[in-house]
């Protein structure tokens, strides 16, 4: 069975470590906040200028001056700080954020990512994605392994305009967890009940497979 959006987020949450500063993109990455392991503390960075993002507000807490990078109303946790967008991207570009999780249209075996522009469709802009992929030490991409026609999104070479080059080292899809290194995808884990053959058939780029590929574990 391929993973649901929530299960992808649950698996990504296992990448979090105690004391991490983390930036979560829009979509599946946002859901990761719901599955932070109970025994660790992380601080969420929102690139408009908030470190220590909390949950959505109650009606009583609602404040139009408190939003996240997805323009959603949010709260700040105890220990949070608020700063300008220039300061925010100094943190990001300067490599101070420990983990960035974001979505993509395509990733290739050289760690290139395409996530903001489909030629012929309206280009809405890259927002902070190019800065995030250029600055983060540690990036996890979440996406479906293939599009709805079955075409792989894990490619030899990205076909769409790039958001960043040689910057992605880990992908969690609905079928698998993979590393990218030395010009290839390396299969680390498969979704429960998904065969290695299925993953092979949905991966266009070079795929390195070890003898024993364990199933993902969910606690």
């Amino acid at each position: 069975m391929s993973l649901s959006r929530e299960q992808i987020a649950m698996r990504v949450a296992q990448e979090l470590k105690d004391g991490y500063y983390v930036n979560l993109g829009i979509g599946i990455p946002t859901l990761v906040a719901n599955y932070v392991p109970k025994n660790i503390e992380v601080m969420l960075q929102s690139e408009n200028g908030l470190l220590g993002m909390g949950p959505y507000p109650t009606r009583e807490q609602l404040d139009p001056d408190m939003i996240n990078a997805g323009k959603e109303t949010v709260t700040a946790i105890s220990g949070a700080s608020i700063f300008s967008s220039a300061e925010s991207f100094a943190m990001i570009r300067g490599g101070h954020v420990d983990l960035t999780v974001l979505g993509a249209f395509e990733v290739d075996q050289n760690g290139n990512i395409a996530s903001y522009m489909i030629p012929g469709k309206l280009v809405k802009g890259m927002g902070g994605a190019m800065d995030l992929v250029a600055g983060a030490q540690n990036i996890v991409v979440t996406m479906t392994h293939a599009d709805k026609h079955g075409k792989s999104k894990l490619l030899a070479n990205c076909s769409l305009p790039l958001t960043g080059v040689d910057c992605i080292n880990k992908i969690v899809t609905d079928l698998a967890v993979l590393d990218i290194k030395n010009g290839a995808f390396h299969l680390l884990e498969r979704a429960p009940g998904v065969s290695v053959n299925e993953i092979v058939s949905r991966t266009e780029g070079k795929l390195v497979i070890s003898d024993n590929v364990p199933e993902m574990k969910f606690v």
Partner: protein, 234 residues
């Protein structure tokens, strides 16, 4: 003698000197922390062919969207612009020029512009469409592109509190692009919720020193919410 009193009481005075074809930097992220009243006044003034430097472009009937509707904007320099239908129409028909700029690069272009730095190297955008036509240079075996800074004829800023000398304090994430915008305008106009007596703000709590600020106008704000998300709905 006005001395350091920068308070003006009319929008006409606040935006005096704004002319067709000028470049205007605006603070705000989405609809949060935007100078609502100054934008509304530009609509009334009918100033056209403006270049706006702003992370976003408002929605159809609020924020910079109202200037788009009146075709007062010739060019937008933004990181993300997809929240309104009129924008899409003008962009696709070629009436509106758009320079998409990564958000952190945009923030730094304005910051550097205000700080007298004409250009800077950044890894952001290397190898992407953003890098086209830009100088590439290697530092420590990594590739960077040269990005030029931005200054404006006017900067429009929204702050929470100002004293009469123009010292500013922002409120929560309504800060966003406002501190950089404040530094990069030849004329910086600030719209605030509250004007306090000079001396009542602690020197250490001031976000933007008054030296950057030319005019202050007090206003009330709608503070429209773009995406209402509540704990109770989840």
């Amino acid at each position: 003698m006005a001395g350091f009193n920068k308070v003006v009481t009319s929008y006409a005075d606040a935006l005096s000197g704004l002319k067709d074809g000028m470049t205007v930097i605006s603070g705000g992220f989405g609809l949060c922390g935007i100078p609502e009243g100054l934008i509304a006044r530009i609509k009334e003034m009918g100033t056209t062919s403006l270049t706006f430097v702003s992370n976003n472009c408002g929605v159809d009937d609020f924020g910079l969207g109202i200037l788009l509707k009146e075709k007062q904007i010739r060019k937008m320099i933004s990181s993300y612009v997809g929240e309104n239908a009129e924008f899409e129409r003008q962009y696709l028909s070629g009436e509106l020029e758009v320079e998409l700029t990564p958000q952190g690069t945009l923030a730094e272009k304005i910051r550097a512009g205000g700080a007298g730095i004409p250009a800077f190297y950044t890894a952001t955008g290397y190898g992407t469409p953003v890098a086209e036509g830009k100088e590439v240079k290697q530092f420590n075996k990594r590739n960077y592109i040269l990005e030029e800074s931005i200054t404006g004829d006017f900067s429009l800023v929204r702050a929470w509190k100002a004293d009469k000398t123009g010292n500013l304090v922002y409120r929560d994430t309504a800060m966003n692009f406002n501190p950089m915008a404040a530094t990069a305008g030849r004329i910086t106009v600030v719209e605030v919720e509250e004007i306090v007596e000079t001396g009542s703000l602690k020197p250490t709590e001031i976000h933007t020193p008054g030296i950057y600020v030319d005019r202050i106008i007090r206003s009330s704000f709608e503070k429209r919410i773009e995406r209402l998300t509540l704990a109770d709905n989840n």
